[in-house]
Structures are given as C-alpha cells and as structure tokens.
C-alpha cells in the first residue's frame, strides 16, 4: 500500500535545496544533477568497474617490473589498450580520481540535503494523521478492547512503553490520540554512514596530497637524520612542503627471534632519539609498535640481516674510508646472502656473497645468531669489460685489488625502517568510525512509528485505531504490531481484572 505523501518518513526523498529558488539557471541545473540518484549510481558504477579492472589488469605500482613486462609481452594488444586508457595505473589515473572527486561532491550534497531534512523533521516533530490517512498506512488495525476510555488509553500507553516506544499523547474533543516512536535515531544512520564515506574520501585525498613516505636502513651504531637527504628512498606528495623535523635516530641494538623453521618470529630495534639539545631518549620500535616522534612514524620492517663493515685503503695503506654493505637474510636454505655495490675510489662493480659460516653448509641457525660463526665474503669485482678480481675475504682479512686494499674488520646487524609523515590519517580513521557507526545505526535501529486514536461509534462503543509505519523490514514490524495488540489487550485485562473479550479486526 503506498505511503501517503503527508507522512514524514525516512524513506521519502527529501528536497531541501529548492532548485527553483536558485537564481541562475546553470547553477540550478548543476545542483539538481549533483543531487540526483542517477549521477551517484553512475559514479559508483564507474568506481566499481575501475576497481574491478584494477584487480584484473596488472598494475604498474603493484606488480614487480619483470612480471609486468612479461604480461605486456604476452598480451601486447590488450596491454596497449589498457595503457592508453590508464588501466595499468587505474587507482591514480585522472578519470578515476575525477570520478572519486565528483562522488565526494555528490555524496556531500546528498548527505547535507538529507541531514537538513531530518533535522527539520525532528525539530517539527511527528504530526497527527487523519483517520483516513491512518487507515491507508501499510499496517493498520482496529481493536475494540473492553473497558473505559481512560483504562484503554492508560493501558495502551503502558503497553507501548513496555515495548520500547516513546509516546506523545493528546486528548481532544474527538477522543484520545497518541504518536509513539521507536529507534528514531536510526533514521540518522544513513546520513552518518554517507558522511563517514565523505570524510574517508576527503581524508584520503588530503593524505595523498600531503604525506611523505620513506625508507632507510641502519646498521647498529649508525644514525639517521630525518631530512630530505637522510632517506634511502623518499616519496613526497606535491603538497608535503618539506616538513622534515631534523631529529636523529640511532640504532643501538637489533633483536630478532625466530621460529624453529627459521622464519622470523619477532624483530625489535632499540634506538636513541636525539632531538635538538635534548639528550638521547631511549625508545623501541617493532612490528605493530611503531615509534612516533613529532608526527613522524618510524616502522620496523622485517628486512634485516648482517652488515659487513669494509674499509678501503690505497696501496700504501692510507685509508680512504669505511662503509657497510647490508646483506638481506635469504629465505631458509643452503645459500648465501647476496648484494651488489660500487667500490668507492674505483669504477668497479662488486658482486658479493655473504657466508655466515664459511666452510660449513649454511643452516637457518647461522642467520639467527647475534654474530655469525665464521663470516666470509666471496667477491667478484668487475669493470665494464672483464672480471678484475674473484676470491674470498674472511673476517679480519684484507685483499689487494688493483690499486686499493679492501679489508673486512667487523660484522654488525642492520634493519630497515619505513617512515611515514601523514597528517591526514586521523581524518581517514574518523571517517571509518562514522561509517561503522552509521551502518550499525541503520542496520540495528529501524525507525518505527505508530499513530493511535480512540473513536466511539454511534452506539458509544470504544474502538482503538492503530496505524504503523516502519522504515524497513515490514513483515517483522507486522509481527511486532500483532504482539503489541496482544500486549495492549493484556494490559487492559489487568487494568479491568475481567475476562478478556477483545475484538480485533483489520490487521493488514
């Protein structure tokens, strides 16, 4: 049965922005279009389709370069079209971002429109309906309970309150009337949810435009300076604005724990934070326990391993300097760790294998010790044309390669640290909270309203009219109404202390 338009219900499309009142025709047209459901559904379809395509077509930023090139080679035709349309970087392509932006605007206007409508409706309060309007509601029943009018109205109010309804009662010449409401706050669920989505999207845009994400590796005893040049890798968003804080972080000690099969169980770095004139502050960072200092979050990466400290001198023994080579711990198996680097003071490229226990098969335990048992490097030094040197360099030894002397005095440990500056993250998480709250309100608290009135027929018999509307879940509301009718009859019986002879008609 259609709901009469005079009834305020949460399901009617509110129109608060009166387009006709807007002076300029183009603005009027634009506002109407932005408020339209069709636009919102179209934008949602674009976002959904693009998101789906992003999981089918390999994404440049998410796929290893070698795998991406292989896909391009094997699907050259599709790859060409996909790249032309932007499907290989769909989450950053202009039309996807434009659709998201337009969705933000549409979502914002629709949410505001509905919020204003609900606010005005709430302030105005529910209005009584005529008997004709009541009879045309989806749920309508007439009952003729025994008892005086006073007993009936008192019992009805008691029954409604026991069922969780709040009542507003008025007595008129024509009889008693009441409006009972339940879960009214649930009507705001949809608004809160959509507003939450808006906050998430806006927070995401702000975060994407202003954050910086970097990565650095530290050997025990080394320090990192939080500056543009301090990172091994740094990605600054366009509006980041060089907001580096300049403090230092020194890695004092790396602690790792391993499972019996050799996989990493836990990793933790004890660090000192040196900020300005203040003395070093001891702190720690571990996975799921990032270090936060002055808005900069320093995470603990799983990447770690042994670092070979190498010293370079000339043939006469005059030192050029010292540096470290970080070897990532390999996956469990009998193989060395591998790294390449350019040898300073030369044009040579070095390919280095690190053996934690030279002379013995490598076991998982060798990588888990604070210090490797018998560390050694197997070096292959190459220039553009040929191999200059190939041979072992054990801990404590030196080797002469052309005009330089390379020595290996010490082994330490290193770890990787991703870093994040993101002032938008709080906004995004606030949006999540609103989305969850909104969806919970919408799902669990369904607004329901009853209009009640008593009438007397020509013979003076009292009839109680009950009309009801629920925002959703109509069959369940019908059952609740039937239960409520039984409850009202029971209340009247208790009030009257007599055998019930209730007469119930018209339950729809």
């Amino acid at each position: 049965m259609p709901v009469p338009p005079s009834i305020e219900t949460a399901e009617l499309t509110p129109v608060v922005f009166d387009a006709r009142a807007c002076r300029w025709r183009r603005a009027r047209s634009l506002v109407s279009r932005l408020l339209s459901r069709e636009l919102a559904l179209f934008l949602l379809a674009v976002v959904l389709s693009a998101t789906f395509a992003g999981t089918i077509v390999p994404q440049r930023t998410l796929t290893p370069p070698a795998d991406f090139e292989l896909w391009r080679r094997d699907h050259s035709g599709i790859a060409m079209i996909a790249e032309a349309v932007g499907l290989t970087n769909v989450y950053a392509v202009w039309w996807f971002l434009a659709a998201l932006g337009l969705l933000v605007v549409s979502l914002g206007l629709c949410s505001a429109n509905r919020a204003i409508f609900l606010w005005r409706t709430t302030r105005r309060g529910a209005q009584h309906l005529s008997f004709d309007e009541m009879s045309r509601l989806e749920h309508y029943v007439e009952i003729a309970p025994p008892g005086t009018a006073e007993a009936v109205t008192h019992s009805t109010t008691a029954a409604l309150r026991k069922s969780g309804y709040s009542c507003r009662v008025s007595s008129e010449e024509s009889g008693w009337r009441a409006i009972a409401s339940k879960n009214s706050i649930g009507a705001w669920g949809s608004v809160v949810l959509h507003f939450g989505l808006l906050v998430v999207l806006l927070g995401g845009f702000y975060s994407g435009a202003t954050k910086a994400a970097g990565y650095f590796e530290l050997v025990e005893g080394q320090s990192f300076v939080e500056s543009h040049d301090g990172y091994d890798r740094l990605n600054e968003a366009p509006l980041f604005g060089e907001r580096h804080e300049g403090f230092r972080v020194r890695l004092d000690r790396l602690q790792t724990e391993f499972w019996p099969n050799g996989s990493l169980r836990d990793i933790r770095s004890d660090v000192s934070v040196i900020d300005g004139d203040k003395g070093p502050e001891q702190a720690s960072t571990w996975v799921n326990g990032a270090l936060v200092h002055r808005g900069v979050t320093i995470y603990q990466s799983r990447r770690n391993g042994f670092a070979a400290v190498l010293a370079i001198a000339d043939a006469a023994g005059r030192p050029f300097g010292e540096g470290t080579v970080n070897f990532p711990t390999p996956a469990p198996g009998d193989r060395p760790a591998f790294q390449t680097f350019r040898l300073p003071q030369t044009e040579w490229q070095v390919l280095a294998d690190f053996y934690p226990n030279w002379g013995e098969p490598t076991s998982p335990e060798d990588w888990q010790m604070p210090q490797p048992p018998r560390p050694a490097l197997f070096l292959t030094v190459r220039d553009d044309l040929s191999t200059v040197y190939s041979g072992m360099l054990a801990l404590g030894d030196s080797v002469t390669i052309g005009h330089v002397v390379l020595s290996y005095p010490e082994t330490r440990r290193w770890a990787g640290f991703p870093v994040l500056h993101d002032s938008g993250i709080g906004v995004v998480f606030a949006g999540f909270a609103l989305c969850v709250a909104g969806s919970a309100l919408s799902c669990l608290l369904v607004p329901r309203r009853l209009w009640l009135a008593t009438v007397r027929d020509a013979q003076g018999r009292l009839t109680l009219l009950i009309g009801g509307h629920s925002a959703k879940y109509q069959p369940a509301f019908g059952e609740e109404l039937a239960f409520l009718v039984d409850r009202i009859v029971d209340e009247v019986e208790e009030e009257q202390c007599s055998t019930p002879r209730a007469f119930c008609t018209g339950l729809q």
């Binding site: 559904l41 959904l48 998101t51 999981t55 499972w259 998480f429 909270a433 959703k472």
Partner: protein, 277 residues
Amino acid sequence: MLNAEGFLYWLAVTIYAGASVAYLIGLVFRRQRWINFATVFAAANLVPHGMAILLRWRAVGHGPYINRYEVFSSDVWVAVAAFVLLQHRFPRLRAAGAALLPIAFLLMGLGALSSSEPEPLPPSLHSYWLLIHIAFAKLTFAAIAIAYALAVLYLWKKHKAIANENGLLGRLPSLEKIDDLCYRFLGLGFMLLAIMLAAGSIWAHEAWGNYWSWDPIETWALITWLTYGVYLHLRATYAWRGSKASWFTVGTMAVSVVAFFGVSYVARSLHVEYLVK
C-alpha cells in the same frame, strides 16, 4: 595434519556431505523428515568440526586464520553455527540448509586439498586489530551465506509454489517473510564487513604504515562491500523486492566467495603471502 585432528576433520567433511545430500533429497522430494534429519546432523557436526579446529589451534599455537586449510575450515564452522542458531529461532527455515550445506562441504573439501602444514605466525600478525579483522570477516561470511541460503529458498518456493500446498512448501514461511529475513541478513553483512574493512585498515597502518594499498584482496573486499551497498540502495530507493532482490543476493554471494576465497588463488597479495606456501 595430526591424527586425531585429521580424523575429526574428515569426519566433519563426510557428515557435511551426508547432510547436503539429505537436504537435497528432502527439498526435491518434499520430505520434511529428511530436512529435519539433515539439520540435526549439521548441528551435531559442529562438535567434531569444532574439536578439529581446537586441536589445530592447540598444536600450532595460534588461531585458525593463517593458511587456506585453517581459514576455510573456520569460516565454514561459523557459517554453519550461525545457520543452526537461525533454524533454532525459525524452525520453518530449515530447508535453507539445502543451499548452505553444499557450499560448506565444497569449502571444506577445498581446504582439505590445500596444504595443512602449520605456518608460524609472522611478526605482523601479532596484533589485536588482526583478531578483530578476522573475527568480523568470519561473521560477515556467515551473514552473507545465510542471506544467500534464504534467497535460494525464496526462489525455489516461488518457482515451485502451488496454490493450497500442504506439504513442505506450505510449511515454509511466506515469501514476504523469507525475503525480509534475507534483506536483514544482508544488511547485517554490510555492517559487519564495514567493521572488518576498518579494522584491517587500522591494522595495516599500524604494521606497515599503509592503511590502503589497493592490494587485490583488500580491493575485492571493498568491491563486495560496495555490492552490498548497491543492494541496499536498490531495496530502499527503487523498491527492489522478491525475485529481483533474491537473484541479486545470489550474485553478491558469488562476489563474496571470490573476495574471501578466490582471489588468493590468482592474485599476488599481502594476504596471499600467508595463505599460500
């Protein structure tokens, strides 16, 4: 797989298979006794299945959420337990098990085909947010599985309805009631999935500094949530009811199965790192 755990697991798979067959016989030949029999066995099967999960938990030292074997098994347990509670409240909806139990059996079978080698917990999985994320993922799957089962029941009853049917069809609730319940469970799934997505994002931010990385499984979870949202909009705004809504629910179940279980087979993902060896 340990001996006792393996025995209990395969016992559970066998009973799910038997219950599925009994449901289908009951539905096709309209025998309420077969449906009651299947429901009792599905409910009783929660015990050996639950014991298998607990034995596994004790043996590996962490909950059932690391590899496919554990994930599929625990998801099925939660979905079947939710259905048993539903049919306890609404006994006339037992026939919906004919849609749910075959899915449970298939997922258990797929889990059995996957490696059951215990995986140690990596550092990033030591987080309370992870537990919230996983718990709500299982509850979401249970909600959508029940919505799907009710949608299938609706379509079956609508297709087979004969006036004044006194047998099995007559004992089912009205089409309107089944449709309404399906709507409620899908709405519940929407809310639970929102919590799952939020908890997962917060955990990812705490662990890696990246609350959203368009990871394939993350993205498919978002697609699933948006699909539920489209359903709710079609209901509320365009008054979709009955068969249209039920077919859409069947579609959302397909999307959910792809998101929860299928993407891990084909896509490289942070989630897959822990699901596949």
